[in-house]
Symmetry: C2
Subunit: 269 residues, 2 copies
């Protein structure tokens, strides 16, 4: 049975080689599609054209994604033995929503396996509050279940930690499938599902933190169960901050890394 | 006076909106152009089309860049108030060398400035050996002066640190200009100028570590003087490793971050 996420990111190939899809109305916040959802939708078309799953995808957001039909123009620029390189433009009619560039290839097991890091320590999922932003219409918040570690949640109540880190659990909240297993596309979604880390700093005025660039590296195939995510930022300067993500599966394996460059929210007026 | 680096990355606009340049013969290793040099060359065309300097550039390498004339096809997909989004394909005739996607915009000073990190501690530049790989023809090694911290250099003599870090000084070695100041394009070059960090691990067989994807975020305008660079890797698995770079200027300010996803070298045969 298809999950809600699979249905909301489904694409079909047009005769001219482009892909048809739709930005679903219920995967956004205040009517604007979530950035991870947009990347997953476009990556479905790119992966279909490549005949391979995502290994790394970079997205630049051009305009907020509004619900409705969309087209994904796809250009496979290289087919190699292990990976294919694909460019794409996701557009609503003539309005560009996102430009993407990615490499697609199967996960393989070979060579050295060295990990110098550990998943974030998290209380049981039931002890971590769901985080749906207040005073906004968030279909996205109903589709996913992002549970922030209580010690990272003070910012929501004006108690900023002053530490550039937000960690928590992540799973899909599906009406028909009990805790769907993540695939590579689900990892793309997870990479942009939590609040901006810059909210942890009292010097930052809360507000929209538009992403300039988001890159996700798929580093493994997740085991069943919820994901453990950690997002950090160390450099807020020149109006910009980076946000680095680590996504770990239930077995304790790193399955994705992400980095984005985003604008620090500007005070209103 | 133009520096050697400026001359080697110069481009001119063609009537059809594409750009003409040349992959210089002396910016490669064993006849293949350095990846940071390729990104800088393409970014010159992208920045000219945008009328703005690079803020973040992502490159996917398609085939090794060989010396000779090249064309950069450039497509400005969005012009915003602060940034422009640009796609590009650098090709030698019909052979694609690199596909790129970037955002271009001026450095501005506004908002919070928070840094939770420090530049790498390095001995004086004269105490750090120049690192030109043995037994290879490296024009690149003559154009730049990359000085690795002695405690990170054991790998070159079969004494692997087992620690995923290489740090060192970086400057341009110009015949006519005494220590040229870095601009944003020079930072793109610095992001791929050191040996792959995976060489620090005895489990990794030395060899070619092809980059799948390299993203550089320009985070500031460098002060005059040599750069201090730190490259780290924490996850070698599924045949791939990430390499995270921090580039600091002589005044102690972070001026660029980089991340690449690359293939762990495979044993010969």
């Amino acid at each position: 049975m298809a999950t809600e996420f699979q249905t909301a990111t489904a694409v079909t190939r047009n005769d001219d080689g482009s892909y048809a899809g739709a930005i679903a109305p219920d995967w956004g916040i205040n009517g604007n599609a979530n950035g991870g959802y947009v990347i997953a939708l476009a990556a479905r078309a790119m992966a279909d054209a490549a005949g391979r799953p995502p290994l790394t995808v970079t997205a630049h957001y051009l305009t907020p994604g509004r619900p409705g039909p969309c087209t994904i123009d796809v250009d496979v620029v290289r087919v190699g033995g292990r990976t294919s390189t694909v460019r794409a433009l996701l557009r609503s009619g003539d309005v560009g929503v996102a430009a993407l560039l990615g490499a697609f290839g199967e996960q393989v097991e070979h060579g050295a396996s060295i990990v110098d890091a550990a998943p974030p320590e998290l209380p049981p999922i039931g002890d971590c509050p769901a985080t749906k932003p207040p005073n906004v219409e968030s279909g996205f918040g109903d589709r996913v279940d992002a549970r922030v570690r209580p010690s990272d949640l003070g910012f929501a109540f004006g108690e900023h930690s002053g530490r550039g880190e937000i960690a928590g659990w992540f799973r899909l909240d599906d009406p028909d499938v009990d805790e769907p297993t993540f695939d590579a596309f689900g990892l793309l979604l997870a990479a942009d599902a939590f609040a901006p880390v810059c909210f942890q700093f009292p010097e930052v005025t809360p507000g929209h933190a538009p992403t300039l660039e988001l890159t996700v590296h798929v580093r493994g195939t997740p085991a069943p169960g919820p994901l453990r995510c950690r997002f950090t930022s160390r450099f807020l300067q020149q109006g910009l901050f980076e946000e680095d993500g680590e996504i770990w599966d239930a077995s304790g394996k790193l399955v994705a890394q992400s980095r984005q460059l985003a604008l620090i929210p500007r005070p209103a007026g």
